[in-house]
Symmetry: C2
Subunit: 472 residues, 2 copies
């Protein structure tokens, strides 16, 4: 059992660490974007070097206090704060944000874990390169947290998840040992894949302090369009056609149900919608072309072919960079629109691609039978990843429904996911919100393996206690 | 300490397993392509189902005998045979080669571990899809071994290593437990990345019995060319230009030193060379284009631009599919040519891309100072992966050099790799040949983590004893 991070223990840290590392607990370290969980912390520790991170974790092991690694605080499953168990310390990487090196010709950049995603994108761009990881919270999210959760976002279809964008990591283990793995190699088969074990472990196996990231040539031309489709089935067929026509130039394929734009029209009228009448289903497509191709011409060919095949009924092809940005602003505003309405249940799920239409049909039917709700289903269809959220009907609020509504709906959704071989966590991770889902729906042997690895790498259980696994 | 797989123990397996599983040890299970190591085995076990693999490993745990997982036997570092330690059993996956499912529209195929790579490629092609993993031994190598070693090959530049081509695995652990992870999802953040931990673990953590593999649209057009360059430096600049011009259409970029074709001319005259005079350096480039592009036109544009920039002095662009195959046949014959000459030292190494020319220059210089040798340096330059092999001078044989020559040269190469932040194992793995290299050159904390994971997942040490780690 861990100890509370009492004032006495915090004082011990203060006495053993350089000035400026041990800090008061500002409120923001105890909050998360959805306001569902409230954290606690004895202190915030903000080390400036990997040696200081190592010292922090050695001290925490000695004192047997939990340590919650903290990036940008944008996680949606509570991985960054601890509402339960002994009071921990928060370990913020915010002071470690240096670019340690950039090799544009190699397509590699080494940055510290506290670097903010938007800054990393900017540095890459200054060197005429693209760092393709992109998501709504990129102005706050930090590299360490993005790797800790194996973040996804809108460009996974072409460039992969955070995992695929990382060539190497430097990380500090629970006892303070430093794993030096900042290789910038495309191929390195020298034993177990510890990099990928740390990536996505949500700070429970080690604290990533720096990473070598992959950079790509910037597309020479880009095009975006919102195309109206009849159904998720038609969207899936359009995806196949887009892949055939555009190949790897297809960088995003986002499904948007009409409910999302309707929420925006009602609650965020400042967001411009690209249609006179909101369609029941549409997709946002982006193409990024290299020198030999013309993105606009490719998009028009795609549109024409899809229209002829009866897959697309209508559409808006962005005619300028400003219009392209506008289409994306609509897409990126959907989560905020949802928050303004207030969901009863939000899901970050994935499915085998061909099962996406069936899931949407059957989940909608099951939820319809369960009561009166509104569903907003949108997400990265190219990756089989849906954000499938359930809301009160117009005029009602969350509190107007029985207290167990959320659990009942979640059970419906997860049952269906299990049947269709999907996943109850696609890109956000487990954090603390989905600990019980793992126990309920995960493969038992996989869970045993995870527990064994956790126990051997963090025998005291000080790293992010309560995330991924229950506090015991 | 493990027990020998004695006839008594083998009999116990025979009594507890279905007929046909326990087999005599044919000679081929004890040999490897380079004839440097000779294996031993009490029996070959060839289970036909995952349940039988599970039964085999339960029995092996009870009997405390080692089990060496065996795929196609094409590994180049001795991961598939055991020359030392207690006599083990060989576990061959050869009877498990079913295609469990294929979803061409999703780009997914689930196959058993014993499926041969060329067969998997063919099935994908029959469904108008590409499985891009491709290497010289694809006619024999099996999926389980390719994943166990995280195999590379010629298309990594565009499609990634075996790891990136796998969405999920089913595997049996040392004690017979079955991990069911055959998901066919693009995104699945439900805990630790056990898939990638098993991939590349060379059968020391579990036995992969099936995998979900990624399929891609087949290129609509392809083009290949051999271009003559002045130096590795020029080749590197050409790579940058090719990436800028062709973007993701660039699927292979292979560096070839003149020594390789000279060996072919001497020892394999049946292999057609694409030049009148063998150049000191050339590169083999392949483009694979989707519908919107014309591969031939793109290749010509690339050639013209590179010629104008002074990067390319001469070249042969394949004018037909037959000529394209001929260029690749030359490339794929290089390892066989090497074997006919008989190397003193062969290396499978990787470097940060920008360090490749420096490595080639400095390694050549150091080896030149160490004695009279011939160097054949070729490989996947697009991945920073070189096969850097050292041979006797003409008229001499390996035996004409002092016995410690190979070790001395290896030391030179590995020193330089360490200095340039490269890797001593890029795509072949560690097997048994590089166990000491890991101890000598690996990050100590990384090795400790690997040992801890090995111990917790295979506490008796029965899985592939002697691979990756020394027998203790």
């Amino acid at each position: 059992m861990l100890n509370d991070a009492t004032p006495e223990i915090v004082n011990r840290f203060r006495g053993n660490l350089p000035e400026g590392v041990v800090r008061e607990v500002a409120q923001r370290y105890l909050e998360e974007p959805r306001d569902r969980l409230t954290g606690r912390a004895g202190a915030v520790l903000a080390p400036a070097t990997v040696e200081e991170v190592s010292a922090v974790l050695r001290l925490a092991s000695e004192a047997r206090v939990g340590v919650v690694p903290y990036g940008g605080g944008t996680g949606l499953v509570g991985g960054q704060l601890a509402p339960e168990g002994p009071v921990p310390l928060v370990l913020s990487l915010e002071r470690m944000k240096a670019v340690r090196g950039i090799w544009p010709d190699e397509g590699v950049m080494t940055v510290e874990a506290g670097a903010i995603l938007a800054d990393v994108q900017r540095v890459a761009e200054e060197h005429d390169r693209l760092f393709p990881l992109s998501l709504a919270s990129e102005g706050s999210a930090r590299i360490g947290g993005l790797l800790g959760t194996n973040a996804g976002g809108v460009n996974v279809l072409r460039y992969g998840n955070a995992r695929e964008l990382c060539l190497g990591v430097e990380a500090v283990l629970a006892d303070g040992r430093v794993m030096r793995g900042l290789k910038r190699l495309r191929k390195d088969n020298t034993g177990y894949d510890l990099r990928n074990l740390l990536i996505g472990s949500e700070g429970t196996l080690g604290v990533v302090t720096a990473a070598s990231l992959r950079l790509f040539p910037r597309p020479e031309s880009r095009a975006a369009a919102v195309l109206v489709v009849e159904s998720p089935e038609a969207a899936l067929r359009l995806l196949g056609q887009a892949q055939a026509v555009a190949g790897p130039a297809l960088s995003a394929f986002e499904l948007i149900a009409g409910q999302g734009p309707r929420f925006l029209a009602e609650h965020m009228p400042q967001v411009r919608l690209p249609f006179a009448e909101i369609p029941e289903w549409c997709v946002l497509i982006e193409l990024g072309c290299s020198a030999g191709q013309d993105a606009d011409a490719l998009m028009e060919a795609l549109f024409a072919e899809a229209y002829e095949a009866g897959l697309v009924r209508d559409g808006v092809v962005a005619a300028s960079e400003a219009q392209r940005a506008e289409l994306w602003a609509m897409r990126e505003s959907l989560p905020e629109g949802n928050r303004k309405v207030g969901s009863i249940l939000s899901n970050d799920i994935s499915l085998p691609l061909s099962a996406v239409p069936e899931f949407i049909a059957r989940a909608g039917e099951a939820i319809g039978k369960a009561g009166d709700f509104r569903i907003n289903c949108f997400g990265h269809m190219g990756d089989g990843n849906l954000h499938y959220n359930v809301f009160p009907v117009a005029g009602k609020a969350r509190g107007d429904y029985p207290a167990d509504t959320s659990d009942r709906l979640k059970e419906l959704v997860n049952q269906l996911l299990a049947e269709l071989e999907g996943s109850f966590s696609a890109e956000h991770g487990l954090g603390r919100a989905k600990v019980e889902d793992l126990v309920r729906w995960g493969d038992p042997v996989r869970i045993e393996m995870m527990r064994a690895i956790k126990k051997t790498l963090d025998p005291l259980g000080i790293l992010n206690p309560g995330a991924i696994f229950r506090i015991e």
